[in-house]
Symmetry: C2
Subunit: 665 residues, 2 copies
């Protein structure tokens, strides 16, 4: 047995032992890809286990995340802070080794994977970030940003539609430092894939302008070595290395079969597998010489030290650039940003205007953009509708990646997962836009940003029936509620230009929470505000109009319906009622405020409440209760001019007044 | 000018006139594809404007649905009940000509399109339905089911990931009667696609095992004619005809540019376009000879009459088969189904068992399946986990499509849109399964079934943190609320084998509403029920346990938490409280009951309410109000054994009792 195989077998042993101990998990992929991983990680991967966050490290993504024991084994063996006891805690509560790789739980895990295809799209985002950052900051003889992104993926990733979107775009953008390894083992959960997956994958990726290295024996280290070198040599195209492997390699009775994919091998099979592999060590036992040969700590320290030297030279020659790069890599906004944003909001408040909030969003980008080199914008082929292409936006192309705007094409899901990858990579504030309805095409990537605590920014325009004639396929109803109910996601639906600027400000300042910015197609009346009210917008909900004495009734509204609520309040006040209007641009952010503040805005004693929003009513019972009322939607929209639709669906001042009067009795 | 061009220009004129009149819409695609449409519709499409629902008609899908004026023009010109006045009402409220083609609004519109890529996937579903129905019912010399499915599509459809999923599967299944026309005009909303869409589409589709006819001049009728004939001649492979076209063909100043894609041409440009096209008729004016040459009414009557003759012969030779086919095409269940279902539920109630509801679902399929030839099942590569592969399930392959089960591969979005296509086609009760979390990958197709009022059945297993070790990427939190908030969708989360059987029964009986059946991974305790309670399950919510006198407090629960609520009620009763337990397998269906019934179950006077569900809490305030409490989730899950997670997240009998006691004071 070669030394390489022996070292790879350490992965196999750890993987089957940990899955067995957990009584659940996926041994097949780690055992099948162990030989590939050994070559990549021991001979090529540029990383430092002593500093998992070193900026110029290669990124490694396990897109087939169910094979998590592969990456845990690699991190353990190469010297990350992941002990053998951590591996024994595989899939247990509070462990560093959850069932799927979870970003933030384990040093060295670059992204959360498991939802198939998304890791690959994250990797495209990381490679895009590297290429763009390099184009923006590298200078002659100073390749300060220069690393590869490697992704492992399986049949599942390639069947998923997102693989098409992401890889097509990666080809167009010529992401030459992206190298993907396809674990072509012919098996998926339902069995041999030939019954449902018959693509000529090499041909498919060639059609995307990738370099394809097909027919590599994934158990022949020399062949893998050669393929990696060929991949690295091509700097113009991303590379797909198609590795023929045997799932569960080494298991005499289960290898090559679905039975080793997602279940423990069982004690008996593990015993004979040890024999077949010639691995004569007990469960979780790794001999010292194996550890020694796997350790990447010294090599990692050395390459990081070498980079640090280059950094000093770079900093010396380009002090401003270096400071800017450092700031961006640290995720810090420019020092003057807070002031800029505060003044901008004040200025907007003082100069009333009634643009659509999508237009107000563009105005905000035009104001903030020149100060924010880290902006990396884009739209899924709706730039002119989403209004994301601000004055300083410059498209990124294969030949010139120094821009700050991505023409994503009609690829909502890939766009969103790529944004997550860019954000995980660091150095950027990435935003991407589509119609709110088509958030649904990308929905799970939005959730993943929240799960990973990444401050991705999702811009969604055409937020309701207010979009008009395009009709119910394009008119959101339940989508805003879906965003609000997603844990750790802040959804904003501002009512005017001022709230729009604040929403953008909060999104840009966010460090651990993605933000969804929901904008209107149609114009919006600007509301009056005191300085205090202006400040309170950032709290997600605040009293916009109040009664002189204790309110009898509270109207709660967001976005285009705030003006309806304000007008209704005026009519109710004329009738002699004491009515408060609460503008609630972000229920998520409002919920994060103190109990005192929330009670001030929505006093428990005031139980007569009407929520007004051109969206599904169900959500609002959280704020109006069983005795309250909602002016909203309970059906899909229709195709007609927007004005006709608000009347048709009874989302009007009159309907609000009527429901309020019914409560006031 | 050829006669053909003249006839095609009728489409161009109607499209630009209607968009102009509506002051919004998309003239570019109809004007670009008019010549292709003329050849297909006048020379090939087998349909009858006098009977848009004739069973053996060809299906036509406009996947680039924004070009709706193309199909409206075609339907009007060929003689469907769609008048010139209807065209003048384009994009107006209550018209038959909404902004995008909407199923059910316009005779001859086979599916709702607009959300890109999904029409193509619907078409794959229709072609699959045709192939399977033909394999099941045709007999030697009796090709009673024999029609094509034609789809038009644009760049957007091809960039979307779902096009990969659907077309890859269509190639594997050898859907030879599917013929797609790619409107290769080089333009998308952001401009010339070469900046973001550089696929070699011909190569890509060859990699899927499609026949590709590339380089067809979409304005050369003879070339289009030849391509269609070649496509029809190949019965083993689906065909993609790549048509080079000029968007907005005929507009001197806007053709070939993005400016004609999604906005009216303007009166001046329309004038010069009329001149360039040689179309000397006023707005909405179609000369009688043009109508005459376009009319498909006589031809349609003749081909339907010919089919009717063949039907009589078929019915004569195969009376049983014919009756079965008729029943299925009419969407009627077997006459004995109600009795079978009622007896099965009764039998389950009398023989308590505690399976996971996914297993109870399999048991139900095994019971109902043998009686339901119309079942067309499947799973997105999770058959063994979703438990959808019942005893009588037989895979469909390219060579033998007579089965009743589709191995969809890891393609959730395509699966769901294909199910919609199968359901729209008729003849089947189609269901497809994945983990509940991955509903999100398919989310917009689920919504589309609800919008189209199609009774698609979506099976979702692994419904909560109860799935355990796979962790937060796989543990639904906000997904059930998302399904419940979707208009016209019935979401069921049964608590035991009995409720599972009822949920399946209701889903199968549904005619205009899709159903999402949400099942557990883990075992569930069976609840006791009276005959009345058994009947009431179908009402979506019912009193499962009651107090002897008026309840002081109501516990509302679903799925795996019903047993927690029942146990909590027992403890609270022991404490001397009067507590009711409401099992609420479907809030959607419960909402459809009479106000009286709802008041009986949840009396307004009882305001002390606790909802218990291992899912996002927000939703439940609709039922417990501001004074109630929820035992649920407010964060993502974790990776650990299920039992540990219920404790960790405090979804327990103890937590329920505690919250109840806090309300009881």
């Amino acid at each position: 047995m070669s030394d390489r195989r022996y070292l790879a077998n350490a992965i196999r042993a750890l993987s089957m032992d940990a899955v067995q101990q957990a009584k659940s998990g996926h041994p097949g992929a780690p055992m099948g890809m162990a030989d590939i991983a050994e070559v990549l990680w021991r001979d090529h991967l540029k990383h430092n286990p002593n500093n998992p966050n070193w900026a110029d490290r290669d990124r490694f993504v396990l897109s087939n995340g169910h094979g998590s024991m592969l990456i845990y084994s690699l991190l353990h063996l190469t010297g990350y802070e992941l002990s053998i006891d951590d591996l024994k805690q595989f899939r247990q509560l509070d462990s560093k080794t959850p069932g799927h790789p979870e970003y933030g739980y384990t040093p060295g895990v670059e992204t959360t994977t498991g939802p198939l295809g998304q890791g690959l799209a994250n990797a495209v985002g990381m490679a895009l970030a590297e290429k763009t950052l390099a184009a923006q900051f590298n200078r002659e003889s100073h390749d300060i940003i220069d690393h590869h992104t490697y992704a492992f993926l399986g049949d599942g990733c390639l069947m998923e539609g997102i693989s098409h979107e992401a890889c097509s775009l990666a080809g167009t953008l010529g992401l030459g430092k992206l190298i993907a390894f396809y674990d072509d083992n012919g098996i998926s959960i339902d069995g041999e894939v030939e019954g449902w997956f018959t693509d000529d994958t090499a041909k498919r990726f060639e059609s995307y302008n990738w370099q394809v290295i097909a027919g590599v024996d994934g158990h022949d280290s020399a062949a893998v070595q050669k393929a990696i070198e060929q991949a690295q040599a091509n700097e113009q195209q991303p590379t797909l290395i198609i590795c023929k492997t045997v799932i569960g390699f080494g298991s005499p009775n289960k290898q090559g079969k679905e039975s080793c994919h997602g279940a423990p091998l069982g004690d008996d099979e593990i015993k004979v597998t040890r024999e077949q592999l010639g691995w004569q060590h007990g469960p979780f036992e790794i001999p010292a010489d194996v550890y020694q040969q796997w350790s990447a700590k010294d090599r990692g320290d050395a390459i990081e030290a070498s980079w640090n030297k280059r950094w000093v030279a770079y900093e010396h020659e380009y002090p401003k650039l270096a400071a800017e790069l450092k700031r961006r890599l640290n995720g810090e906004l420019p020092g003057n940003f807070d002031q800029l944003a505060t003044e901008f909001a004040k200025q907007l408040q003082q100069n009333p205007d009634n643009p659509a909030t999508r237009k107000a969003s563009l105005n905000t980008l035009n104001k903030f953009g020149p100060e924010l080199g880290e902006l990396l914008g884009g739209s899924a082929d709706l730039a002119g509708s989403n209004l994301t292409l601000w004055d300083g936006a410059q498209g990124i192309t294969a030949d010139d990646a120094s821009g700050n705007y991505v023409y994503y094409g009609v690829r909502e899901f890939a766009m969103s997962a790529i944004i997550n990858g860019v954000t995980l990579h660091g150095g950027f504030k990435a935003y991407g836009a589509t119609f709110l309805m088509f958030m649904e095409y990308a929905r799970n990537a939005v959730r993943m940003s929240a799960l990973m605590k990444q401050p991705s920014i999702f811009v969604y325009t055409h937020d309701s029936i207010g979009l008009g004639e395009d009709g119910p396929t394009h008119q959101p109803v339940e989508q805003i509620a879906n965003l609000r109910m997603t844990p750790n996601l802040n959804c904003w639906r501002p009512c005017d230009a001022v709230e729009t600027a604040v929403a953008w400000t909060e999104a840009l300042k966010s460090k651990t929470t993605p933000n969804a910015l929901v904008f209107s197609r149609q114009g919006m009346s600007q509301q009056q505000r005191s300085d205090q009210q202006l400040t309170d917008i950032a709290k997600g909900g605040y009293v916009l109009r109040d009664s002189d004495d204790t309110p009898e009734l509270i109207l709660i509204a967001t976005g285009s319906e705030v003006d309806i609520a304000v007008q209704a309040a005026e009519k109710l006040t004329e009738q002699g009622n004491s009515v408060r209007v609460v503008s609630m641009p972000s229920t998520d952010v409002f919920e994060q405020q103190s109990a005192d503040y929330k009670e001030q805005v929505l006093p428990a004693a005031v139980t007569k409440r009407v929520a007004v929003e051109a969206a599904i009513e169900d959500f609002w019972y959280k704020y109006v209760g069983l005795n309250g009322a909602v002016v909203g939607m309970n059906s899909f929209g229709e195709s007609a001019p927007a004005g006709d639709l608000f009347k048709h669906f009874n989302i009007t001042v009159e309907a609000t007044v009527e429901k309020a009067n019914a409560l006031l009795g």
